[in-house]
C-alpha cells in the first residue's frame, strides 16, 4: 500500500504531466506497425483475438465509413471509437503509477498506454481494427482549449476539420462566415456558450437592434469623450454599448441589477464602491 509519495515521486508528477500533454497534442501520422503491436497487446489483455483485417483511416469520418462498409459499426460508429492519443488524460495517471510507483496491476493497460503514443482515435471490432492518423494541425488558446477565430481549430488529413472558439465546438459558418448568421439562427441555438459566441461574431450592437432590446439609459461619457447606452435583454442580462476611443463599438455584459451607464462602468471597473477617479481612457 502506498500511503505517501517521496519527494522524487512527487517531482515526477510534473514530468509525466508534460510528457502526456505532448502525446495528446502530437500531430504526426499514425505508425501502423507500432499500432498493430500494441493493439494486439490490448486485445490479448481483454482475452480477445486480434483480427486479421487492419485498416488505416486519415480521420474519424473516414474511419466511420470503413466501419460501415465492413458491416461492423454499431448505431453510432463514433461511440465505437477509442481515443488513442486523446486518451492521454487518463492514461497518464496509469503510466505514472506503473513506471514511477511500480504498481504491476497496471500491466493489462500497457497496450493502450503505448498505443496512445502512436495513433489517433481507433476502433477495435471482432472483425477488424481501424487505426486513425492524428490531427495534422491543432490551435489552442492560453488555457489549452481548442481555439481559432480565423479557421479550424483541429485539422485532419483528408479534409476533416473541427471549428472551436475558447473550447466551444462550433459550426464552420459561425467561425468563417459570421456575417451570414441571422437572428433566427442565433435564437434557435439552445447552448448558451454557442449562442453568445454567435452574437459576439455577428455583432452585439446589430443583434440588439434587431431584437428591439429596450434602452434603459444613455449618456455622453464626458471623461472618455464617448457615447454609451445600456440595453436590457431577456436572455443576456443588461448590455452596455459604448464607443471605444479607438473608433470601434463594444458591447459588454453587466448584471441585470445594473441599470445605468454610470453604474455599469463602475461594475466593469470592479469599483462598485467608487474608490477610483478615472481620468480618461485611450
Amino acid at each position: 500500500m502506498i500511503e505517501k509519495l517521496t519527494e522524487e515521486q512527487e517531482a515526477q508528477l510534473e514530468v509525466y504531466k508534460d510528457k502526456w500533454i505532448k502525446i495528446g497534442l502530437e500531430c504526426k501520422p499514425c505508425d501502423l506497425e507500432e499500432c498493430k503491436k500494441y493493439a494486439k497487446m490490448a486485445y490479448e489483455a481483454a482475452g480477445l483475438t486480434f483480427p486479421d483485417k487492419v485498416f488505416h483511416a486519415k480521420n474519424p469520418v473516414e474511419a466511420a465509413e470503413i466501419a460501415k462498409r465492413e458491416g461492423c459499426e454499431s448505431d453510432n460508429p463514433v461511440s465505437d471509437m477509442m481515443y488513442g492519443s486523446h486518451d492521454a488524460g487518463w492514461l497518464s495517471f496509469y503510466d505514472y503509477i506503473y513506471e514511477v510507483l511500480g504498481v504491476k496491476e497496471v500491466e493489462p493497460l500497457l497496450g493502450l498506454i503505448n498505443l496512445a503514443k502512436h495513433c489517433g482515435w481507433w476502433a477495435a471490432y471482432d472483425e477488424c481494427v481501424i487505426f486513425q492518423d492524428r490531427h495534422i494541425d491543432l490551435k489552442l488558446n492560453e488555457d489549452g482549449r481548442l481555439h481559432n477565430e480565423d479557421g479550424p481549430a483541429v485539422t485532419y488529413a483528408g479534409g476533416f476539420k473541427v471549428y472551436a472558439i475558447d473550447g466551444v465546438r462550433l459550426k464552420e459558418q459561425i467561425v468563417m462566415a459570421p456575417e451570414t448568421l441571422t437572428v433566427e439562427d442565433i435564437n434557435a441555438e439552445q447552448d448558451m456558450d454557442i449562442r453568445s459566441i454567435m452574437i459576439e461574431r455577428h455583432g452585439w450592437h446589430k443583434f440588439l437592434k434587431v431584437i428591439n432590446a429596450t434602452c434603459v439609459d444613455e449618456r455622453e461619457n464626458h471623461t472618455e469623450g464617448t457615447l454609451e447606452a445600456l440595453y436590457e435583454t431577456e436572455d443576456f442580462g443588461n448590455r452596455l454599448v459604448v464607443t471605444c476611443p479607438t473608433g470601434r463599438v463594444f458591447t459588454m455584459g453587466v448584471p441585470q441589477e445594473v441599470v445605468s451607464c454610470e453604474s455599469a462602468q463602475y461594475w466593469l471597473g470592479n469599483d462598485e464602491k467608487q474608490n477610483f477617479n478615472v481620468i480618461g481612457r485611450t
Binding site: 488558446n141 447606452a229 464607443t243
Partner: protein
C-alpha cells in the same frame, strides 16, 4: 435616433479623426498633480496610482514587459522597458485574475499597445494594473464549473 445608431455614428467619426477630443491612439499621461486612486484606462487595462503593494503579491523573479496574460492583440499592453521597474505580481496570477502587476517606478515608463494610445507614467509613482470585468466570460466559467 436610436441610441445604438448614435453610438455607431460616433464611433465612425472617431475612427475618421473627426472628433478632436477623442483620437484613436491618443497618448495619455499621469500629470505630476495626479494622486493615489487616479486611474487611466488603456482599453480594458486600468492603470491606477497606488501607494502600497496589495496582499497576495510577490516580487516578480522574471518580470515580463507584457502586463496582461494572453497571446491575442488585446493582451499586448506592454511596458517600453523594465529599466527602473520593480514589479510585483499576484501569487497564482492567471487570465481570470482581475488584478495584475504592481509597478514601483524609479524611472519614467510608458505602457504601449498596438491599438490604444500610449500611457506615460512618472518616476516615483507606484502603479497597480487591474482589468475590466468580463461578464460573459464569468458566466461561461460558471457554466463550465457546473458541468
Amino acid at each position: 435616433m436610436e441610441a445604438i445608431q448614435k453610438i455607431v455614428n460616433h464611433a465612425e467619426k472617431i475612427s475618421k479623426g473627426k472628433i478632436k477630443t477623442v483620437m484613436p491612439g491618443k497618448e495619455m499621461s499621469f500629470s505630476p498633480a495626479c494622486t493615489v486612486n487616479d486611474r487611466i484606462w488603456q482599453g480594458d487595462l486600468g492603470l491606477t496610482i497606488s501607494n502600497s503593494v496589495p496582499e497576495g503579491y510577490e516580487l516578480a523573479k522574471k518580470p515580463s514587459l507584457q502586463l496582461v496574460k494572453g497571446n491575442n492583440i488585446g493582451a499586448k499592453h506592454c511596458l517600453d522597458s523594465l529599466d527602473g521597474v520593480e514589479m510585483y505580481t499576484p501569487i497564482g496570477w492567471n487570465e481570470e485574475s482581475l488584478a495584475g502587476p504592481y509597478l514601483k517606478l524609479t524611472q519614467d515608463r510608458t505602457v504601449m499597445h498596438p491599438k490604444h494610445g500610449d500611457v506615460n507614467m512618472n518616476a516615483g509613482t507606484e502603479i497597480h494594473c487591474t482589468y475590466q470585468r468580463e461578464r460573459d466570460n464569468e458566466l461561461a466559467r460558471d457554466r463550465r464549473a457546473r458541468d
